[in-house]
């Protein structure tokens, strides 16, 4: 009985630690409920698609796909093109996806082939691959764009005539998806104020008496994410999904059953990369600014951290993990700096506190995962030698 309780805690240690820290940090930060909910909703809309793109390689037993950065880069290239051509609104976003897709597919196939040569070390390989492709990306964007690849918009190009500027404003598609179906929740008083601020644009209004202030809901983005979740559920039910689950559990057995292991693994990575490409486009349409050389940097790291914090492991992750992870991880990101500042009284300590807590917990998540795996291995060993083995 106690052992079982211990198991439950051990299996959910990471989310538990986060919930406890958040329980302390939220009151310390002094943020209002409406601000926190707003920020969380924004971040769910912004980040969950990226994180969801990690699920399929995990299913195929390839671990956490640090190579999703490749997809993010493909998405950014798509965005750079639509910015250059001046395509705005939903057509802009869809066109960016269309342009990003083939690039992501090519990068995904490349990544898949490399990972097939590095079986068992997929995570570290994809991580390093991310750096390598980042170099290629920088060369393309910094030297080839405007020189070999036609980019003409002066707002995009460095004044020397080639190379893209460090920061590209995405005003044309900023918040387009988030505000496609404008929806807002307000308290009983907040409605009028919000109407004034909006200048009378139409939107769906929900009133919940308990809330002060107003909360905008990125409804269309959430719908897209929901559709994506449906896609993943459907995908699990397909033959391809079944094959990936089989490969994820035992490659040798799957191979002997005639499942094309290597090909399936490549498909898993390609799907993940393409989805990461779309995820990055959704992310950036919310951010409104493309940091040409840095936006993709942390996309992989933060998505993976969030997924781990949501209780996923290197070998098992569910949709629920994704959403729990986004909420807990980003709650920490929002609350920790101010909580740290209020706790210690120095602004920069708040920032250091955030870095310490956030990254520290990622480390804890990985250590706990390793520990858990060792425990499982030991349990398997115990069952191997039967009941007589003693201790």
């Amino acid at each position: 009985m106690i052992r079982r309780l211990f198991d439950i805690i051990a299996n959910n240690a990471v989310p538990a630690v986060f919930i406890i820290i958040s329980a302390f940090a939220i009151p310390l930060s002094g943020y209002s409920a409406s601000y926190l909910i707003q920020e969380l909703l924004t971040r769910i809309g912004r980040n969950s698609f990226l994180i969801l793109s990690l699920l399929i390689p995990i299913m195929a037993g390839m671990g956490l796909n640090f190579g999703m950065v490749l997809g993010a880069m493909a998405g950014q290239i798509g965005l750079l093109f639509i910015c250059d051509w001046g395509i705005v609104g939903i057509p802009g976003i869809v066109l960016a996806c269309l342009i990003g897709t083939p690039i992501a597919i090519i990068l995904g196939i490349f990544c898949g082939h490399v990972l097939n040569r590095a079986k068992g070390r997929e995570m570290v390989t994809s991580y390093i691959l991310g750096f390598f492709i980042n170099g290629v990306y920088q060369m393309v964007v910094l030297y080839l764009m405007g020189w070999i690849i036609p980019i003409t918009n002066p707002a995009l190009l460095l004044s020397r005539g080639y190379g893209v500027r460090n920061a590209v404003s995405l005003l044309g598609i900023r918040g387009i998806l988030d505000n496609l179906i404008p929806t807002v929740i307000t308290g009983t008083q907040g409605a009028g104020q919000f109407f004034n601020a909006q200048g009378g644009n139409p939107f769906i209004l929900l009133q919940i008496p308990l809330i002060d202030g107003s909360i905008r809901i990125p409804l269309a983005t959430l719908i897209v994410i929901a559709l994506f979740c449906v896609f993943i559920i459907w995908f699990r039910k397909t033959k391809l999904g079944q094959d990936m689950r089989a490969i994820g559990q035992n490659q040798a057995v799957s191979d002997s059953a005639g499942i094309p292991v290597n090909r399936t693994r490549i498909i898993a990575i390609v799907i993940s990369t393409v989805l990461a490409c779309y995820g990055q486009i959704i992310y950036l349409q919310n951010m409104g600014t493309l940091n040409t050389y840095n936006s993709h940097d942390q996309a992989g790291m933060f998505s993976i951290a969030a997924l781990l914090i949501g209780g996923a492991s290197v070998s098992r992750a569910s949709i629920a993990n994704v959403f729990l992870g986004v909420i807990l991880f980003h709650l920490m990101f929002i609350v920790a700096p101010v909580a740290g500042k209020n706790l210690i009284g120095d602004a920069q300590i708040g920032e250091y506190f955030r870095v310490f807590v956030s990254y520290g917990i990622i480390a804890i998540a990985l250590v706990l995962h390793a520990w858990k795996r060792n425990r499982e291995r030991e349990a398997a060993r115990r069952s191997l030698r039967g009941n007589k083995g003693g201790e």
Partner: protein, 410 residues
């Protein structure tokens, strides 16, 4: 269980609330700067404001936060931190110095919720057009005006030749390349000979030590070639230190550094220990001045008396405070008016006793359109052992705004 946790954390909170100000402030000013490791001067400016107006946690006026050290990658955090400031209903002014990437987007989000907050950006990293579309006012060092005032200062100090030391990577930057073009034009107009010298890039294979060595070894030859009445200017901070040492020892003029401050180059070049004077700018200036005069560089070497980052944080916050105090928030035409420009200048002057600032609106070279939200500032040059040159009030001739960046040939 959860209730208990909340109670405990609230107790902790109360513990740190500490001594409260007698009367809570009517409104709050939010300041975001880098950390000590990223940009110390900016942070010290914010600490000055907390000293002056109190911490909002204790009933004062100032809420100070910092952006991540790794700001290029962690834009999300920067944005939510700034938007988080706007969660405080008393927040009326938000100052971000330096306005790292993401500030424009954060300002847009603040705008969506709160129209009543004054948004100020210091030293924006984003393009002028992007940041001012969201911010009320952005301030930047005056790379155009200084293209004229630095040669002018050199002329006033008695220089006949102006030596511009840089390298191709820097010259491909918009601001640095444009300033060089203006300097060249200004020298022509002022009757000074303009010379461009190339020095190794410290980020290349020679490294910082090699680049500094190059300056040390070449200065005697340059002095020989251009004479003792040549003024030297370099775009790289690493080059500044050996350049200062050689100017003090061999002769020549040094108007001001690329990023002028008494702390720029001088302590290292002349071996000045400033640990006791930390944060006290007049004392720092005095000590540096003594050292320069002792080294024989009196009257030949200049700087800005006060650090740009430090002053900007404080001045923007002060400007915001005055804006609310004087009721300018009721006046929709205030931003962009001549009055605002004057007020901004005064706010900067307030933290630089003795020094003056020159301020002008930014004019987009390509279109010739004035951007009334983007203010360029330059401080009067202080010649060590010679006093202020009075460059702050110099009117920049219109023609220099029309100059466009020319590609470097060498």
């Amino acid at each position: 269980m959860k209730l208990k946790l909340t109670v405990i954390s609230l107790l902790v909170f109360a513990l740190f609330a500490g001594a409260a100000f007698a009367e809570p402030a009517k409104f709050h000013i939010g300041i975001m700067t880098g950390t000590v490791s990223q940009s110390e001067d900016d942070l010290r400016g914010a600490e000055l404001m907390i000293k002056m107006y109190g911490d909002s946690a204790n009933g004062g006026m100032v809420t100070h936060i910092t952006y991540p050290d790794n700001f290029p990658s962690e834009q999300e955090t920067t944005i939510s931190q700034i938007v988080g400031l706007a969660d405080d209903p008393l927040m009326k002014v938000i100052v971000v110095n330096q306005a790292v990437p993401g500030t424009a987007e954060a300002f847009r989000r603040v705008r969506e919720k709160r129209k009543d907050i004054l948004l100020l950006a210091g030293e924006p990293h984003e393009d002028p057009g992007v940041i001012t579309e969201a911010a009320d006012i952005a301030t930047h060092t005056d790379h155009i005006g200084r293209g004229y005032t630095i040669p002018l200062g050199a002329q006033k100090m008695g220089a006949k030749t102006f030596v511009h030391i840089s390298f191709p990577r820097h010259m491909s930057y918009e601001t640095l390349g444009l300033r060089r073009a203006i300097m060249e034009e200004a020298c022509k107009d002022l009757g000074i000979k303009f010379v461009f010298e190339t020095a190794p890039d410290p980020t290349s294979d020679v490294g910082m030590a090699g680049a500094q060595q190059y300056i040390l070894e070449n200065m005697p030859a340059w002095i020989e070639k251009y004479g003792k009445d040549a003024a030297f200017f370099c775009t790289n901070d690493g080059h500044t230190e050996p350049l200062l040492r050689q100017v003090a020892a061999l002769g020549g003029f040094f108007v001001e550094a690329d990023l002028p401050s008494p702390l720029m180059g001088y302590p290292g070049a002349l071996g000045i220990d400033l640990s006791k004077e930390q944060g006290d700018w007049p004392a720092i200036l005095k000590k540096v001045e003594e050292a320069v005069v002792k080294a024989g560089g009196g009257g030949r070497m200049g700087t800005w008396a006060y650090s740009w980052g430090y002053t900007t944080t404080a001045a923007l916050a002060e400007f915001g405070k005055r804006y609310i105090d004087n009721g300018h928030d009721k006046d929709p035409k205030y931003i962009g008016s001549a009055k605002a420009l004057k007020d901004m200048r005064e706010a900067y002057d307030a933290f630089c006793p003795g020094a003056h600032w020159g301020a002008s609106y930014f004019i987009e070279a390509a279109t010739g359109v004035k951007n009334a939200k983007f203010i360029l500032l330059r401080q009067d040059t202080y010649v060590l052992g010679g006093g202020y040159l009075g460059l702050a009030d110099v009117e920049i001739p219109e023609k220099y705004f029309q100059i466009r960046m020319t590609p470097v040939k060498n």
